[in-house]
């Protein structure tokens, strides 16, 4: 076999790499930086189109490759789609929000690299590749979060992100090394059986396995920002350039979930009994803490950060439930969350572009200042709160109902409390989302009107449309998610 055929499954990634490398060069050529964005957009859109085409055609037979490091299946496809769409939204929103910065080339290059890393994580079926993907995305986003040279907070965000990130990638790596030790393989699918065999032959090994499980949970928990590994998230989301906050909250988080799903539901399902309660507790704590703190925030970006912590808690439900249907719900929520969150951040970014701050008070009377932005924000927030008929409700519906489903016998009945905690938290979250709406619609603000920046507007429109569409008609998506979940559970 030739190298080429070996690389065939990586074609999209290679494409992205090529463009990423072109970027700095183009930076010197073009004065109008928006062209860079257009160029960066090209491979992303291409990839997205390809994914959609594959999905519609229903062909997910991966090109045969000797080294089974990756699996090009619907599961990875959906995640890739989420990452790419977020990438598109972010790139669309960027030129206006970073126009005072220099080195746009690097900026777009880094975004592309981050997307590459994420897609690799989604594709990988092997711990090595998984780790590589995580780090590629991670390092790229470290740099991105510190991209804004004028912002003091940006640099601080980068430092914190980098230190905590490095720390937890060390955790991840150590955990992986332990897994490798006890299972003797780096192929995720083979881990489970091998570990069982190991536990039966060597006593004391299972506690090593537990240690590894906890460490990987911590390491990846950093990416998805679950309590208590979430502390970095608010600071970083607040400090980074807003489009990057969107990237982190919507895409990077989802990458973490891709890894978590793969490792826990593909690799560690056999030892589920050991970790499901713990993860359930973490999930409940996460959503509760996230929402409680979000209530007391006055900076929208920070509030959104905590809300995405809470969302992480919802999605984390999938692991302890651990059923196909639950995973479908998780995937669905990952998708919808990508659109809702990136959209919300883009609204903040749009206001930033027009020199309006990002604190709650800056949203006063947005109804009169910019009806469209207000409307978009309202829809996105209501969707985040899970109000029908919006995407957030649909995905939460599937997610929570999977908990109810799991709790009915024969399942463990305590799963119902996940659903209860979930709905109570949605009600709690409604408080701070509704407060923003109140500020926009029920408070008097400055009279001057805000025009919506064009490109950002397009990005927001994209997010909003997806939010509404996925809420009103989500038949196809749910079906895809179920297929994808099925693919992961019984390949």
């Amino acid at each position: 076999m030739t190298v080429l055929s070996m690389l065939e499954p990586f074609l999209p990634q290679l494409l992205l790499v090529v463009f990423a490398l072109m970027m700095p060069a183009l930076d010197y050529i073009f004065k109008d930086k928006r062209i860079l964005a257009a160029v960066a957009l090209a491979p992303l859109v291409g990839y997205a189109v390809m994914l959609v085409a594959w999905t519609l055609a229903g062909v997910w037979e991966p090109p045969e490759s000797e080294m089974s490091l990756i699996e090009v299946d619907l599961f990875s496809g959906l995640f890739a789609l989420a990452f790419v769409s977020v990438g598109i939204i972010v790139v669309l929103g960027s030129p206006e929000s970073i126009r005072q910065e220099r080195n746009h080339g690097e900026y777009y290059a880094l975004i592309l690299l981050a997307v590459i890393g994420m897609t690799v994580v989604a594709l990988s079926t092997d711990l090595i590749l998984l780790f590589v993907g995580l780090e590629v995305a991670g390092i790229a986003s470290f740099a991105l979060s510190g991209f804004s040279k004028r912002e003091k907070r940006s640099a601080e965000a980068a430092t914190k992100y980098f230190i905590v990130g490095g720390f937890s990638s060390a955790l991840t790596l150590f955990a992986i090394s332990l897994f490798y030790g006890v299972s003797g393989t780096t192929a995720i699918a083979d881990m489970g059986p091998a570990m069982e065999a190991m536990f039966s032959s060597f006593d004391g090994m299972d506690s090593v396995g537990t240690l590894a499980t906890v460490m990987i949970l911590a390491g990846l928990g950093f990416k998805v920002a679950i309590v208590p590994f979430h502390m970095w998230a608010p600071d970083v989301y607040e400090g980074s350039p807003t489009p990057i906050s969107a990237l982190l909250a919507a895409a990077s988080k989802n990458m973490g979930f891709a890894a978590l799903f793969k490792i826990f539901l593909l690799g560690l399902l056999v030892t589920k009994a050991d970790w499901d309660v713990a993860v359930a507790v973490v999930a409940i704590i996460t959503m509760t803490v996230g929402n409680l703190i979000a209530v007391s925030q006055t900076n929208i970006k920070r509030m959104l950060a905590y809300s995405s912590v809470a969302q992480a808690g919802y999605i984390l439900m999938v692991l302890p439930i651990g059923t196909e249907y639950a995973l479908a719900g998780g995937l669905f929520h990952v998708l919808t969350h990508a659109f809702m969150k990136s959209g919300a951040f883009m609204v903040v970014s749009a206001m930033g572009v027009r020199g309006v701050g990002e604190s709650l008070n800056d949203f006063k009377g947005l109804r009169t200042r910019s009806p469209l932005l207000a409307l978009a924000m309202t829809l996105l927030l209501l969707s985040l709160a899970g109000i029908p008929p919006l995407a957030g409700f649909a995905s939460k519906f599937v997610l929570f109902s999977s908990a109810v489903y799991g709790s009915l016998d024969p399942g463990p009945s305590w799963l119902i409390w996940l659903a209860v905690a979930g709905v109570l938290n949605s009600a709690l979250s409604l408080y701070y989302y509704a407060r923003v709406i109140k500020y926009m619609y029920m408070e008097k603000g400055p009279e001057d009107r805000i025009s919506v920046p064009r490109l950002t507007g397009v990005a927001i429109l994209f997010a909003v449309v997806m939010t509404v569409v996925l809420g009103v008609y989500f038949d196809a998506v749910v079906e895809l998610c179920q297929q994808a979940a099925g693919g992961l559970f019984n390949p």
């Binding site: 711990l127 090595i128 780790f131 590589v132 780090e135 390092i139 470290f142 740099a143 510190g146 040279k149 003091k152 907070r153 640099a155 601080e156 965000a157 980068a158 430092t159 914190k160 980098f162 230190i163 490095g166 720390f167 990638s169 060390a170 955790l171 790596l173 150590f174 992986i176 090394s177 332990l178 490798y180 030790g181 003797g184 393989t185 780096t186 091998a194 190991m198 608010p234 600071d235 607040e238 400090g239």
Partner: protein
């Protein structure tokens, strides 16, 4: 042949040393180095497990060592980015003492 436990203890200690450094050292550079130490402790594990593979699992398997190489490369990249970030921090804060860098909080 050295008992596997020794290796495990060693790598774990190394890991803990690194972790301790990350938590306590105020100079960001030192923190950076400590992270490297942690990564390397993991690398030791990988290599060791790989070489003890047939003891544990009865077969030989090089993927651990390959993994180690990957992670070393990644670590290098990470350090590069890290140092760049620290520079830009130093430009604005005129310090790289991590506990001084706390505008963003609550």
């Amino acid at each position: 042949m050295i008992p596997i436990e020794y290796w495990l203890v060693f790598s774990s200690l190394l890991f803990c040393v690194g972790a301790y450094g990350v938590l306590t050292k105020r100079n960001a550079i030192v923190v950076l180095m400590c992270i490297e130490i942690m990564l390397n402790s993991a690398n030791i594990n990988l290599v060791m497990f790989s070489s003890y593979h047939n003891v544990l699992h009865g077969t030989a398997d090089p993927s651990g060592q390959a993994f180690a190489l990957f992670s070393i490369a990644i670590a290098a990249a990470e350090v590069a980015v890290g140092l760049a970030i620290l520079l830009s921090v130093y430009r604005r804060y005129k310090t790289i003492e991590v506990d001084k860098i706390n505008i963003l909080r609550w």
